[in-house]
């Protein structure tokens, strides 16, 4: 029979069971959700997309390891959040970007934006987007060189001689919109936009595969519907209502499939640390992202507005959390049954 006197018992506080999901499994799910878009990038731009991603992931994990080592804090690279940041940094850069530039971008994202504020869960900006803003400010030329879709760039070297093309969003700007939008429709069909046969950053081009990844995250309950629906919905609504093309629906479709909207709505704006925690707060945040994106695309000097609109809303996340609180239990009397009976 059991020797009850010599049981080695622990007496910790309840609850005594935990859900199987943990930080690492969540980050792994995000990585899995990004793989289709990465595979498409390899097909569209060549295997440089993959090698860039590997370099970026390794460098981000190295920077995180180094920071925790120097500051004598417990190591945290096992949670894979640095790997997600590494992938996302490459996803928002042109495929011709240099390896060293990606490594420096990772340094900025991990050390300045994430670790200086206390590491995972404490950063108020999305690290990958902050790195993109940093890289765009540092290397404006290389960060805006878009190769023609279907051109495989070489793995090493500066790729100075590749043919470049304008991104769809650049057609949707300027004084003579009617002509440029018509030539955009000649260059790329709506199907091209949706499938991703267009120029742009490594990971942003294929709306179809990003939506697939986003649906996977929703299915796995890694993210909720609030931010993507509010964000994409707001952009769609505004671009239909205030269309600048001859067909509002087409103008709207080119807007939501062009640029980084899908990547931003499913993978960037939903970043836990930098977005609100309540469903209602997330709706407000998503609508804010959508408004700013359309404002920047319509009135700003940039063609693309996703990156900055999310970063601006990141700064509002804490304010939204402070003002949007769940209704206290028992204070709002919802006598629904009685009301129904009457």
């Amino acid at each position: 029979m059991t020797d009850y006197k010599n049981l080695k018992l622990t007496a910790t506080s309840s609850p005594h069971i935990r859900n199987a999901e943990n930080t690492k499994s969540i980050m792994l799910d995000v990585i899995i959700a990004l793989i289709p878009a990465l595979a498409f990038a390899c097909w569209n731009f060549g295997f440089r997309a993959l090698t860039l991603t590997c370099v970026s992931v390794i460098s981000c994990m190295f920077w995180e390891w180094l920071y925790r080592k120097i500051t004598k804090k417990p190591q945290s690279i096992g949670d894979l959040s640095a790997a997600v940041t590494g992938i996302l940094i490459v996803f928002v850069c042109p495929v011709t970007i240099g390896y060293w530039q990606v490594i420096l971008g990772g340094l900025f994202a991990i050390m300045i934006v994430k670790q200086l504020f206390g590491g995972i869960g404490k950063n108020f900006l999305n690290p990958a987007l902050a790195a993109r803003a940093f890289m765009l400010a540092s290397w404006a030329g290389p960060m805006t060189r878009w190769v023609t879709p279907g051109t495989w760039v070489s793995l090493v070297g500066a790729n100075a001689d590749v043919t470049t093309a304008a991104t769809p969003l650049s057609y949707m700007k300027g004084d003579d919109l009617a002509t440029t939008f018509a030539s955009l429709k000649d260059a790329y069909s709506v199907a091209d936009m949706f499938l991703g046969k267009i120029g742009g950053s490594v990971g942003e081009v294929s709306s179809l595969l990003l939506i697939c990844g986003g649906l996977y995250l929703l299915f796995r309950k890694v993210i909720t519907w609030h931010i993507p629906v509010a964000y994409i919905g707001t952009v769609a609504l505004l671009t239909v209502l205030f269309s600048r093309g001859n067909s509002p629906v087409e103008w709207m479709l080119y807007n939501i499939f062009g640029g980084g909207l899908m990547l931003g709505a499913f993978f960037m704006a939903t970043d836990y640390s930098s977005s609100p925690i309540t469903g209602k707060g997330q709706l407000i945040y998503g609508v804010g992202c959508g408004l700013l994106t359309v404002f920047i695309r319509y009135f700003g000097s940039y063609n693309e507005g996703v990156c900055y609109s999310i970063m601006v809303m990141n700064c509002f996340a804490a304010l939204i959390d402070r003002s949007v609180k769940p209704a206290r239990f028992g204070v709002v009397k919802s006598d629904k049954k009685e009301a129904a009976a009457k």
């Binding site: 029979m1 059991t2 009850y4 049981l7 080695k8 018992l9 622990t10 007496a11 910790t12 506080s13 309840s14 609850p15 005594h16 069971i17 935990r18 859900n19 199987a20 999901e21 943990n22 930080t23 499994s25 969540i26 417990p74 945290s76 949670d79 959040s81 590491g119 995972i120 869960g121 909720t224 836990y272 640390s273 609100p276 925690i277 309540t278 469903g279 959390d321 609180k325 769940p326 209704a327 206290r328 239990f329 028992g330 204070v331 709002v332 009397k333 919802s334 006598d335 629904k336 049954k337 009685e338």
Partner: protein, 454 residues
């Protein structure tokens, strides 16, 4: 189906291990240890001394103020009246009885001649004398709940949700003793003067629902069984009221504030036995389960049975068992010894030998917001955690920490494995301590001023 409440989690219910197994009678233990505190309120005073012989059902502990009397659960000789380890941690004055195995019933236990003719007052008195407390684990004295609720309560609810994983004691009771449940429900209806009693049962116990409906139809009882969603903490008093009536208990309030009174399935059976047989609470049905138990079972045993007897009856514990839990895995108390006895609120005894907690070193909140989405009390656990860890008392009060019912849903769902519920228990104690200290300081100041004036 009844309306749901906000939030909640859905852990693997683990009930398959025992829900097909009939309630077994435990072989009588050689000794029982009956703690003088098995209810919400001050401990009882022992009425017996070493050497006294006692019989089953004899009163051995008298309560003062809020509480319920305690009765001998076996016949035999009192061998010790001393502090012994008990389930709430630490030691408690206990009466230790050596079992003479005769199982003689005390003369104090008298069945009324015609139970159905008893007045409300007599029925409440019978409940009080039987020492009935909330058997779901809260152990609030039942006669206080009834007498305090008469006239205020329109919805009498019987809690058969049994939402904690592993536990199947109530489920088996529904299958094996439905007439006791329905009988108790009829008496509750009489006491409160209501024409309908609702039994809330999670839909994963469909055969239990059917079994009770059969008895209701036979007796034409004023009872309805309401199927509920399977969602923890559906059996929480406030969540159950919300699911059945659609109303929310106000902050700091009781179900009676919205005209509800909630009784556990086994409490209802105890009320039935108290009124029809005059039988006090001396036995308890306990589910013995968990990864550390070799042959999980539902056992009925005398109150005061050391839990190691339960494990022995289930084939013993597996090697590497590192945790014994009295109650369910979400809200139960981890025990530091297998000597603790079964009390009136013990519905389950679990042993774990696998790493169910999955604890991590240095957990870091990732702000995913899952805790906010699952909190049935509409709190923001991640914020409360920060305030509590930094002793920000004003913020804790403003964020309604005291509304927390420690159900553990936030800790369960947390992917970062933060110790949220634990921090809230500590934080609530700190708030109480601070309020007490401020009150004492104010009283001292007032006294000093009065002295000065004089």
């Amino acid at each position: 189906m009844a309306q749901a409440f906000f939030g909640g989690v859905h852990p693997n219910d683990m009930k398959a291990a025992t829900n097909e197994k009939a309630i077994e009678q435990l072989a009588p233990p050689a000794q029982v240890v009956i703690p003088m505190s098995m209810h919400f309120g001050a401990p009882c005073t022992p009425l017996v001394k070493v050497g006294d012989s006692v019989k089953v059902g004899q009163k051995i502990g008298e309560f003062h103020g809020l509480g319920a009397p305690i009765h001998a659960s076996v016949s035999g000789t009192v061998v010790a009246v001393e502090p012994r380890p008990y389930s709430m941690g630490g030691d408690m004055m206990s009466v230790v009885i050596e079992n003479d195995m005769k199982d003689e019933l005390s003369e104090e236990v008298k069945a009324p001649e015609n139970p159905d003719a008893l007045s409300v007052q007599e029925m409440v008195e019978a409940v009080k004398n039987a020492g009935i407390v909330g058997m779901g684990g809260a152990t609030f004295p039942t006669h206080v709940k009834i007498s305090g609720g008469i006239g205020k309560v329109a919805n009498v609810i019987i809690n058969g949700a049994e939402c904690e994983p592993y536990i199947t004691a109530d489920h088996r009771t529904m299958l094996e003793r439905p007439e006791e449940i329905i009988g108790g429900a009829i008496y509750l209806a009489k006491m409160f003067g209501v024409d309908k009693v609702t039994i809330g049962v999670e839909v994963n116990k469909q055969n239990g629902i059917d079994s009770m409906n059969k008895v209701i139809a036979e007796k034409k009882a004023p009872v309805v069984v309401e199927p509920l969603h399977c969602r923890y903490p559906q059996g929480g008093e406030k969540q159950l009221c919300q699911a059945i009536t659609g109303r929310q208990v106000p902050p700091g309030g009781l179900p009676s504030d919205i005209g509800c009174a909630v009784f556990n399935i086994n409490t209802t059976c105890a009320i039935y036995r108290a009124i029809t047989q005059g039988m006090p609470v001396v036995r308890k049905i306990v589910t013995v389960s968990g990864s550390g138990v070799i042959d999980p079972k539902n056992l009925e045993c005398p109150i005061g049975t050391p839990v190691k007897n339960l494990f022995d009856a289930c084939g013993g514990l597996k090697d590497g068992t590192y945790k014994l839990i009295m109650g369910g895995p979400m809200m139960g108390m981890a025990q530091y010894t297998a000597d603790v006895p079964v009390g009136k609120g013990t519905g389950a005894m679990l042993a774990f030998c696998e790493n169910e907690e999955q604890t991590v070193e240095d957990p870091q909140c990732i702000r995913c917001g899952r805790c906010v989405a699952v909190c049935p009390m509409h709190l923001e656990p991640l914020m409360l955690y920060q305030y509590a860890s930094k002793n920000m008392f004003d913020e804790l009060n403003a964020a309604n920490l005291m509304d927390c019912m420690e159900c553990g849903a936030c800790s369960y769902i947390c992917p970062a494995r933060m110790h949220l519920t634990h921090m809230f228990k500590v934080g609530k104690q700190k708030l109480k301590d601070k309020a007490a200290a401020e009150k004492a300081a104010a009283a001292a100041k007032k006294a000093a001023e009065e002295k000065k004036e004089a």
